[in-house]
Symmetry: C2
Subunit: 295 residues, 2 copies
């Protein structure tokens, strides 16, 4: 990648009341823990439906222990009062860990309630290029001084080419700027679709990252594990894809830090790319893995 | 990377008497099996010293079964008659598998004997930018119609920067061309040094790959596992580094296909980069891994 453009990379700062996390291309890749989400997790879903938050607290603590420095919080339980439930889950998370939260909801009321409750600078997950989404989400992001994930899709769905996804990113960045949200507070998600359906899906995602980074220098997030949906040996596939995506420009994947292959892929990518001085983080993480194994 | 330049990527064709292997950036990454090498492998060394080639035959068969499509053959046993031993080891390898050989020797006499013996187009490992090496190796490569690995080092040692390594690659490519070796038959090795000594070593290697590919479009090889020498959890580090290097332009790593993390990293990188149509190779390799596990 071009040196001059690389030096223009923007920093996104998220915070809690007492600490902050900087997302940037020069520093360590920020793992946003994905586990606090009932989607596809029957046990979590059942626990939330019963008002049992022990699992949420455990997921929060374990992910942070494993290296997540931001936690995604999703409380999308069918039929539940999402504003109330999301707020409750956030309180549970904040009671055990002190890391910024990525508020993951498609419900505007739940989003506003969560933003009101949160003391710090959160990451809102997400806005997209649809007119309705832009009109609803961006004003809340602005009002509460948050950062926001911008998904590369719009009223016409998910564009097939990197060039068209770049256009959606450009639209979101422009609309955010128009109401005073600085570019560094838009974190673009290029969208990762499964390789099982289309074997060039990974390449499309990677090229979108490269185009968006070259054009705007913004941070990039992604639910990287989508790429392997329906394929065997997902952990190996996810590990290689996340390493390549970090090389392409991914800075804050939404992922599961409890999977050793994923966790080490992120740390090894940072070391491979000269972002882990003296390999200190690599060696520290190795000691932690060994300790966990001998427990 | 630039689309126009990518389309200029060159193809290196290696062959045996009856089959051939094409190395190129659009196709599958070619794994050059590294195991037939007594360096650092005491058992192999002892066996070769005793004239026992059973291990060589096993290493050949197992690496090809695991997906290597070229085999590196090194017979550097201290005190041995290398021309005779290398030829013998090559004959043993050729008796069990039908894949092109990468002749790995620093001994010009052993190299010539091996080239004379070999029926097909071999890969010579290696020439470098030293005057003595260029003068000795390139004429043999030309005479026997082989391809050659060009190491990015010269009389002054291993250059510290990607730009200086590119210069060495340019020198080797020019000197090869001057005696009629086409550019596509020079496979450049950017050199991977351990991250344990210098945490930017990986970045230097990756940038060298990008520069050499952009400038010359040649194929790239590398002993990728050097990167992790002296560090813990090498397999994870090697897996991420090889994935990133493939994204940067590596096309034929010299590696150990028997390590599942490495093998899957190579295959997953191809799939992630759209080089594995319908994911057929990924699924096939998965079935092979499962079968091996249940044996």
């Amino acid at each position: 990648m071009d040196e001059e453009k690389m030096s223009e990379n923007l920093k996104t700062i998220l915070s809690t009341k007492s600490t902050s996390v900087e997302i940037c291309r020069e520093g360590p890749t920020v793992m946003i823990g994905e586990r606090i989400n009932p989607t596809g997790r029957k046990k979590v879903l059942a626990a939330l439906q019963e008002g049992d938050f022990e699992m949420v607290r455990q997921d929060a603590a374990r992910q942070v222990e494993a290296g997540a420095t931001v936690l995604d919080v999703n409380a999308g339980v069918p039929g539940a009062d999402e504003p109330a439930l999301l707020s409750q889950v956030m309180r549970e998370v904040m009671s055990v860990v002190d890391v910024p939260i990525c508020i993951d909801t498609a419900n505007p009321e739940a989003l506003e309630t969560a933003l009101k409750l949160y003391d710090g600078k959160a990451l809102v997950n997400s806005v997209n290029g649809e007119e309705k989404s832009l009109a609803t989400v961006l004003p809340l992001v602005k009002e509460y001084g948050a950062a926001v994930v911008g998904l590369c899709m719009d009223d016409d769905g998910i564009p097939a080419t990197p060039e068209l996804r770049l256009k959606v990113a450009a639209k979101i960045i422009a609309r955010a700027a128009a109401i005073g949200i600085p570019r560094e507070d838009v974190v673009v998600d290029p969208l990762a679709m499964t390789l099982g359906a289309e074997h060039t899906a990974g390449l499309t995602t990677l090229k979108t990252i490269e185009l968006v980074v070259a054009e705007f220098g913004v941070n990039i997030t992604m639910g990287a594990s989508n790429i392997s949906f329906g394929l065997p040996d997902r952990k190996y596939l996810n590990a290689a894809f996340i390493a390549i995506a970090i090389h392409a420009g991914l800075t804050c994947p939404i992922t599961n830090p409890l999977v050793p292959e994923i966790n080490t892929a992120v740390l090894a990518s940072d070391l491979s790319l000269g972002r882990d001085e003296y390999g200190m983080r690599w060696i520290k993480s190795y000691r932690k893995r060994r300790k966990a194994q001998t427990k």
